[in-house]
């Protein structure tokens, strides 16, 4: 009875205090996410452009007109194809490499801390600086082409229609790897060492231990890495913008976000950009859900 008397009002009190503590964050989410998202949806169904304050310009309802423009624009189609190319290269590489590296860096290695920091450095370095390094390596007059001599591709890596997008995918993989290695390293701390010892006693080799213990043991982290890598890929902007001069030859490396920028900011069509943003969001949600289903299959 005493317990129930204490718990009843206590729970309600906790709920009020909890709501109070949650309020700033809820407000933040509403102000910077929910309201702009709702506004974006509204813009995408209207003929809209940004005007000076007090301009009093009409924004008529146009139904699906902006979406029709998005789906019939060949540049948008190319941008989504580019993202698929990017994801096909980047996601498996990111998951595979970061897991293998994390497993290696989790072992007792000489200079382990140095290696852990070394993989993390590109992630915390500004994109612009890294792009300069990449251009120095893969520019038409870069180090790699000098080493390859007559075998260098023509046109060169970053302006080659077939190579520009894969180059961006490799660049982003390299840049982001440290972050995903850290995620996996954290996940590996939760995998019991006893499992490895038992498997070793049973005669399992290192490859078998990796696939039978490490991979299932970090499955939740793999789901996180997959989804995060997909979202990062779908939001690709600065790499094609900086590395391939605003979308590359014949839109070979243009991304949906880059098209949003060009249409919404440079060309003054925020309605088109808003519709594209919504389409991109649905695309990312669908792929993320699919990735989650696949990664959690058999769990």
């Amino acid at each position: 009875m005493t317990i129930s008397q204490t718990n009843g009002p206590g729970r309600r009190g906790t709920s009020r205090i909890g709501a109070l503590f949650a309020a700033p964050y809820v407000l933040f989410v509403l102000a910077v996410f929910a309201v702009p998202l709702g506004y974006t949806v509204w813009i995408s169904f209207h003929r809209f452009y940004f005007t000076a304050p007090g301009a009093g310009v009409d924004s008529p309802w146009v139904g699906l007109s902006n979406y029709r423009d998005v789906f019939t624009d060949p540049v948008v189609g190319r941008a989504f194809l580019n993202i698929l190319i990017f994801l096909v290269i980047n996601v498996p590489l990111t998951v595979g490499l970061s897991l293998v590296l994390a497993a290696a860096l989790n072992a007792k290695l000489p200079f382990r801390s140095f290696f852990r920091a070394a993989y993390y450095v590109p992630y915390v370095t500004a994109s612009v600086a890294l792009v300069a390094v990449w251009a120095f390596l893969f520019g038409s007059d870069g180090l790699v082409n000098h080493a390859l001599g007559g075998l260098a591709p023509d046109p060169s890596w970053l302006v080659n229609t077939h190579l520009a997008m894969p180059m961006i995918a490799f660049f982003v993989t390299w840049k982001q790897l440290g972050f995903f290695v850290m995620l996996y390293l954290a996940a590996l701390q939760n995998v019991s060492g006893e499992l490895y010892e038992a498997a070793a006693v049973d005669g399992a080799g290192s490859v078998r231990r990796f696939f039978s213990i490490t991979v299932p043991g970090v499955r939740p982290a793999t789901t996180l890495v997959l989804i995060y890598a997909i979202i990062t890929g779908a939001n690709l902007f600065s790499e094609p913008y900086l590395l391939t001069g605003g979308g590359g030859p014949d839109h070979a490396s243009v991304s949906p976000v880059l098209v949003m920028y060009q249409k919404g900011i440079e060309q003054g069509h925020p309605d088109f950009a808003a519709a594209l943003g919504i389409v991109l969001m649905v695309f990312v949600l669908a792929i993320s859900l699919l990735a989650r289903k696949i990664s959690e299959r058999g769990e």
Binding site: R12, A19, L27, A52, P53, A55, G139, G246, Q262, Q267
Partner: protein, 428 residues
Amino acid sequence: MFRRTASALLALAMAGALAACARSGPDAAVAAKAHGPIRVWLSNNAQEAAWGEQMVADWNKLHPGQRVTAQNIPAGKTSEEAISASVIAGNTACLVFNTSPASVPQFQKQAGLVNLDDFPGAERYIEDRSGSLADQYRSEDGSFRQLPWKSNPVMILYNKKLFKKAGLDPDHPKLATYDQFLDTSRTLVHSGAAKAAIWPAPSSEFFQSWFDFYPAFIAESGGKALVEKGTPQFDSPAGRKAADFWRSLYAQKLAPQEAYPGDAFGDGKAAMATVGPWAIAAYKDSVDWGVVPVPTSDGRPASAVHTFSDLKSVAMFSACKNRATAWDVMKFATSRSQDGKFLAATGQMPLRPDLTGTYPDWFAKNPGYKMFADQTRRVVDVPNVAGSIDMWQAFRDAWTKSVVFGRQPVDSALRDAAGKISDILAEY
């Protein structure tokens, strides 16, 4: 409780959003007659900023009650993006001394510009200052929403040292015809004197065509704009010749397909550059330069060659509360005296019909600028049409595909681009 809290939070967020949306600008009728302090934005070009500071100081000395403050245009990828953002935010400076005519239709659509014709005598003032060239800068309704200020006619600057190294005569370069230009370019590159004969940015940004195709097309067509009377002009023999010329430069590896991460001409990697007179001050200590007009297929004399103006305007923005003062400052800054100071400080050409006759002493002391001054008589700018930036982007996309990377024949690329541009013009 939770429902109430959630409702309150939602209401707060919506109120915040609505408050942000319910914006108002100054009352136009009141602002048009108001005098008082104003802000102006200047280009971040060092010489131009120095002139701007001096001009503002001269004004403030004469008008202590209508103080002008100057600062550089806020940083952005381009000035136009920064200005566009500030138009939407309602915090643009009263005057911007570096407005690109290509962006004027967009700023107009955003209701960001003040119609200068609303000021008594404005049309007459602009026509008197710039002569017939001013007509290119009228909006489609015939009004002036920009004061055409300074021109940077695009010509070919060449590096005499690299020409000499290639065994070419640096004082008499053969660059008048397309064939001559290509021969000279081959000599420059194949001799190893320069990595590139010429190196404009081959990238996809909409404005890059102003420094490769557009000057060549204007020269070849005898002074046509990209679009005239609502019709694209470049799907024509002149457009095809100009595009074929550039395609030859790329196909023969005389112009690189990759953007140079810096200033290729200044670094001695390219032997030539398409530039305006601003380049003289920029390269005077690093390059021994010479200048020739843009080539044409038949090698016209310099006095018959037209080119791209690369002009910048002064525009007044609707966020301005003291527009009467702003108009007075506009006239003061473009007066004969201030134009002379501007010319002396920057080497850029105020858009006046008889520039050399107006400032004879300065040109006598600075003969290197005379060719540019003469060229200002024959300049063509971007068409002042709605959808201008969409139009240039459509053209650039076709250009990079067919001319830079040779993935589509020039004829069909220009035809497709003309079709797209016609659609854009019809849409607006």
